[in-house]
């Protein structure tokens, strides 16, 4: 097999899928995996037994990872200590494990629990909960708190075909939501806990966001912050809705597109300093990881970061970069950390779109008449259109299934919106850097950003008004 990582990623995913559908005991799977491992370790004359054993082991590992993440809750997991039906007040000590979001006078964040107390019994615990705190509160990632409030399970789906918030949170290993009614029910302990690199990245993100909002109008700053920093909370609903209808919502989340631009800028910038090749490589990897943390390490961003790092490694090791192998490495990386991501819409759309582009684009291009594809002015437009068409063909079914919308206008919309989004990303980044380092220059970039964002909104509005641009499905 030319690409072993691809087979391993597929078999690992299959293991997760099968374990989610069929009840298999953890120990049974474990012994089967140990048997496959023994076969791998036992030297064989032919490679056939090694390959089959490795595939079998990978399948078992996929199933085991899912069982371990989903089926086996520890004895001291918070969900085992909560009697949610009598809705009593609980005191929970723990750490803010995500960046708090303030919206509609409500602060929400994920909270990594350490101990829980009801009545006079305080016990150690583990597991995450989602916290809703009334009022805007200046909390940060890594703060240690004691919270008092009610706990409840997330709501399940209203109908069999509707998406369930409970499933969404379960996939993130969150089983309870806590409501804290008053800021007096929150006691702040220690501010400097958590992963130091993530704290640094989020501090940097706040500074960058401040710079954007200082020099640009709220709409421009909100759209630029979503594209560059992955901060979507300030995007007005009408922009979100219009982008959803045109099928271009992907540009408002940090994905491979944004990571690609950032990688390009980092590499270009480091080349200017004429640093040694190896140092340049490690600096790029470090900065990409920091950027991934700044944007909240969403699935598409982690996928793109891992792919970029694999690509950089291939250049460093003088190996031929292979997009299928790097995509598989990214999938394995994400699934090993959280196997339930396989059922997440973001994960599926992110991988399917890249796979569709990589697989379909060369095939579609080969079918185009050479007379058109080789003419210089048309080349860029044809290529852009074909990439957009490939991604649309790959993701249209998923979007129709999950979001109940079918948007034929997406292919055309991407042709206009992707170049504008690229310019907004570049201009927004320049605005941020100028805002932080040379505030005088920021006033030059701000009007350009405003103009580009206005163009983006106007083009999008125009496109969704075309007849048959999108269809709502029942």
């Amino acid at each position: 097999m030319k690409r072993p990582l691809v087979s391993l990623a597929i078999v690992f995913s299959l293991g997760i899928l099968v374990a989610s559908r069929i009840k298999i005991p953890f120990m049974g799977l474990y012994f089967l995996a140990a048997l496959f491992l023994a076969l791998i370790l036992f030297p064989a004359k032919t490679g056939c037994r090694f390959s089959l054993s490795l595939l079998g082991l990978c399948f078992c590992l996929g199933a085991l990872f899912l069982k371990n993440a989903q089926g086996l809750l520890p004895q001291n997991h918070i969900s085992r200590m909560i009697y949610y039906k009598n809705s009593q007040l609980y005191l929970i000590r723990g750490m803010v494990s995500s960046e708090p979001e303030v919206k509609n006078n409500k602060t929400s964040f994920f909270f990594k629990t350490q101990s829980v107390q009801s009545a006079n019994l305080n016990r150690s615990c583990r597991g995450d909960i989602l916290v809703y705190l009334k009022g805007g509160s200046k909390l940060h990632y890594g703060e240690e708190l004691i919270l008092r409030g009610n706990l409840r399970r997330p709501f399940a789906r209203a109908g069999p075909r509707q998406m369930s918030y409970r499933d969404y949170l379960y996939r993130r290993n969150v089983y309870f939501i806590m409501r804290v009614e008053n800021s007096a029910d929150m006691f702040r302990l220690n501010r400097n806990k958590g992963f130091i690199l993530k704290r640094l990245a989020l501090w940097l993100k706040h500074k960058m966001e401040e710079a954007l909002f200082r020099y640009a109008s709220p709409l421009t700053a909100a759209i630029s912050a979503a594209m560059i920093l992955g901060e979507k909370t300030n995007i007005p609903w009408f922009v979100n809705d219009a982008m959803m209808k045109s099928g271009t919502l992907h540009i408002l989340v940090v994905s491979g597109f944004n990571v690609g631009i950032i990688s390009f800028i980092i590499v270009l910038f480091l080349k200017l300093f004429r640093l040694p090749r190896q140092l340049r490589f490690w600096l790029t990897v470090f900065l990409l990881v920091v950027y991934c943390l700044i944007t909240g390490a969403s699935t598409p961003c982690v996928r793109a970061t891992v792919m970029s790092v694999v690509f950089l490694f291939s250049f460093l090791l003088k190996r031929e970069p292979d997009i299928y192998s790097s995509l598989s490495a990214a999938a394995l990386f994400i699934l090993v950390i959280n196997p339930m991501q396989l059922f997440d819409i973001g994960f599926q759309l992110s991988f399917v779109s890249v796979l569709a582009i990589v697989y379909l684009y060369p095939k579609l291009k080969a079918r185009c008449p050479a007379a058109i594809t080789k003419v210089k002015p048309w080349q860029g437009i044809i290529n852009g259109g074909l990439v957009s068409l490939s991604a649309w063909l790959g993701t249209a079914g998923f979007i129709a299934c999950y979001f109940k919308i079918f948007s034929p206008v997406t292919v055309l919309a991407n042709l206009f919106i992707v170049p504008i989004a690229t310019l907004i990303t570049l201009c927004g980044l320049s605005l941020i850097v100028a805002g932080l380092v040379l505030p005088g220059l920021a006033y030059l970039f701000a009007p350009v950003c405003e103009l580009l964002v206005s163009a983006l909104v106007a083009v999008n509005t125009l496109l969704i008004k075309l007849p048959g641009a999108y269809l709502r499905l029942p």
Binding site: L37, I40, G47, L64, N68, N76, N122, L189
Partner: protein, 110 residues
């Protein structure tokens, strides 16, 4: 069939073995380590039981550092617990001013 060199096979086998051992260890931890009982927080949120708080919890009170927390615990062990909050003043480093600043953070379980 996978065309891997012997070294690559060894690396793959090592990684798979590590994953399997890690999963097994995590399974045992999840299954057999129970929840521990800890010193309860008071019903007045944020107040700490002076006779039960660990060093880290004491250090969470503004004005108490690592050294002072260590002295409080040493005093507590020597005297078999505090009878009154005023006893804090007899610990080296807790002046009248500091006592007034920190006393609101503690309570003594009856």
């Amino acid at each position: 069939m996978f065309t891997l060199t012997n070294q690559e096979r060894q690396v793959v086998a090592f990684l798979a073995a590590m994953a399997l051992v890690g999963l097994g260890a995590d399974f045992l931890i999840k299954k057999y380590i129970p929840a521990k009982s800890l010193a309860p927080f008071t019903q007045d949120l944020g107040k700490i039981d002076l006779n039960r708080a660990d060093k880290q919890l004491l250090m969470a009170v503004p004005g108490i550092g690592e050294k002072l927390a260590g002295r409080i615990i040493a005093y507590r062990q020597k005297q078999s617990g505090f009878q009154a909050l005023e006893e804090l003043k007899s610990i080296q480093g807790i002046t009248e001013y500091r006592y007034e600043k920190i006393k609101g953070a503690f309570f003594l379980r009856q």
